[in-house]
């Protein structure tokens, strides 16, 4: 074992590389990198067998007791129930039985059915659904290929999932400033998910995210209103992942979603043809940004851990822009999400395009925590 490198604990399998809807912000299909055009529409059993073998090897090398296996896409349900059952069987049988496998699937929800849920029961697959808010909010971006709303079919899927709450992982939304944050929060909360999370739209310094007022931290303000609404609705039991992670990181926790904090990301992506990627969302940055030139047939995951394109993930604060390294909030924001730091001129050594937003939001949350009697302390040092 290499003590100074973090092993992968989450394996994201792109079991389908097509989608039945056409979200305009999608980093897979509607970004600069169009790699999906040359990838198989679904992952074959041969790729799944090779991936399982590599996961087993990694588990053994690092003595991992638990791994997450995420069935991702595209829309993973396009793989079809019989084929996905085959893949799940291969993965379960290929990973040592003394290792706990937590299966998770991220879907747009529109194709969910009782038959799918029966399969997920069999393999204890928990399901996260992507939904941006009420139909009008969701329809801003999440339309079908014929520009029709996907909201009704997504909501039908969520309602079906609610009938088996132990399979419901939560709801994942992308922020749009045109939507009302209170309305979006309350709508998503009404489905009683265990977790809601919000993603900021992908953008770089060369193609920055949309803003109405460039002098204001509009995304920070938007998420702060979500935070206040969350606190004002104790009848709901859900967590809001990004906001809870800010509280956790401010309290000395080190692990968080890869968009925050300084902990090395511990996830790796296996494409439908078996190629290995580190950060799949880098497709939003430039063509080839996520490409490592590795695949599960020929290389172990250790080759990815030590790949020059991913080594910076192990460096924490030292990999950040100078102004981030000296920022008092760096332990919490971690310099922002990797794709959001990019510029063609300076690579990833920039503050996030959401720097002002993150600063506003983190200070908003921390002030609230102090007002409620949480004791100020020093966050844990970076790895």
């Amino acid at each position: 074992m290499t003590p100074h490198h973090t092993p992968f604990r989450t394996f994201i399998l792109k079991v389908a590389n097509r989608c039945n809807i056409d979200c305009d912000y999608c980093y897979v299909f509607n970004s600069k990198d169009q790699a999906w055009r040359n990838l198989p529409a679904r992952m074959s059993v041969d790729v799944a067998r090779a991936a399982a073998r590599r996961i087993a090897e990694h588990v053994s090398t690092y003595g991992l007791r638990t791994v997450h296996v995420v069935l991702h896409g595209g829309e993973p349900l396009l793989a079809g129930p019989r084929h996905l059952a085959d893949l799940l069987c291969i993965l379960r049988d290929g990973i040592p039985p003394d290792t706990e496998i937590r299966f998770e699937l991220q879907t747009n929800g529109t194709l969910l059915s009782e038959a799918w849920l029966d399969l997920f029961e069999q393999y204890a697959v928990t399901v996260g659904v992507s939904l941006d808010g009420p139909p009008a909010a969701n329809d801003r971006h999440r339309l079908s290929h014929s520009s029709r709303s996907s909201a009704a079919s997504a909501v039908r899927g969520v309602e079906l999932l609610r009938s088996r709450p132990h399979l419901f992982a939560g709801l994942l939304a992308v922020v749009d400033l045109a939507n009302d944050p209170v309305e979006v929060h309350d709508y998503l909360a009404s489905f009683e998910p265990p977790v809601i999370d919000f993603g900021l739209p992908h953008g770089t310094h060369d193609t920055p995210p949309h803003r109405n007022d460039h002098s204001a931290p509009e995304y920070g303000l938007w998420m702060s209103r979500v935070y206040d609404t969350w606190l004002a609705r104790p009848q709901y039991r859900h967590s809001v992942r990004m906001l809870e992670d800010i509280a956790a990181l401010s309290s000395g926790v080190r692990g968080a979603v890869e968009t925050l904090g300084l902990a090395p990301p511990a996830s790796v992506v296996i494409e439908s043809d078996g190629t290995i990627e580190g950060v799949d969302t880098l497709r939003s940055v430039e063509t080839g940004a996520s490409w490592l030139g590795l695949d599960v047939f020929d290389e172990s995951f250790d080759a990815a851990i030590h790949h020059p394109k991913l080594l910076h993930r192990q460096h924490g604060r030292a990999a950040l822009a100078d102004q981030c390294q000296s920022c008092p909030l760096v332990e919490v924001c971690g310099g922002g999400y990797l794709p959001h730091r990019f510029s063609a001129a300076r690579g990833y050594r920039n503050p996030s395009v959401y720097c002002a937003d993150l600063e506003y939001l983190i200070r908003h949350v921390q002030t609230s925590l102090q007002q409620h009697g949480w004791n100020p302390g020093t966050p844990a040092p970076s790895p």
Binding site: W230, L231, P234, R237, S251, P265, A266, H372
Partner: protein, 66 residues
């Protein structure tokens, strides 16, 4: 900042003002957050591998059962 070992009680709500009521509501949610944060801190401290890790943003993995 560190979450308190015992989460503070909500403020006295006799004769509540709107602000006091909001504070109490916020405390209920923050109590739950504090409990989960303490579990996460404890899990990180006792993990055989002491390095924490960051989970994938485009899927809903949570570091502990809710």
């Amino acid at each position: 900042m560190h979450p308190p070992k015992t989460v503070p009680s909500p403020p006295d709500t006799a004769g509540p003002s709107t602000a006091t009521s909001q504070m109490a509501q916020g405390s209920a949610v923050l109590d739950r957050i504090a409990a989960r944060v303490q579990i996460r801190l404890a899990a990180e401290r006792t993990a055989s591998n002491s390095s924490a890790d960051g989970s994938h943003a485009a899927s809903l993995i949570w570091p502990l059962p809710l």
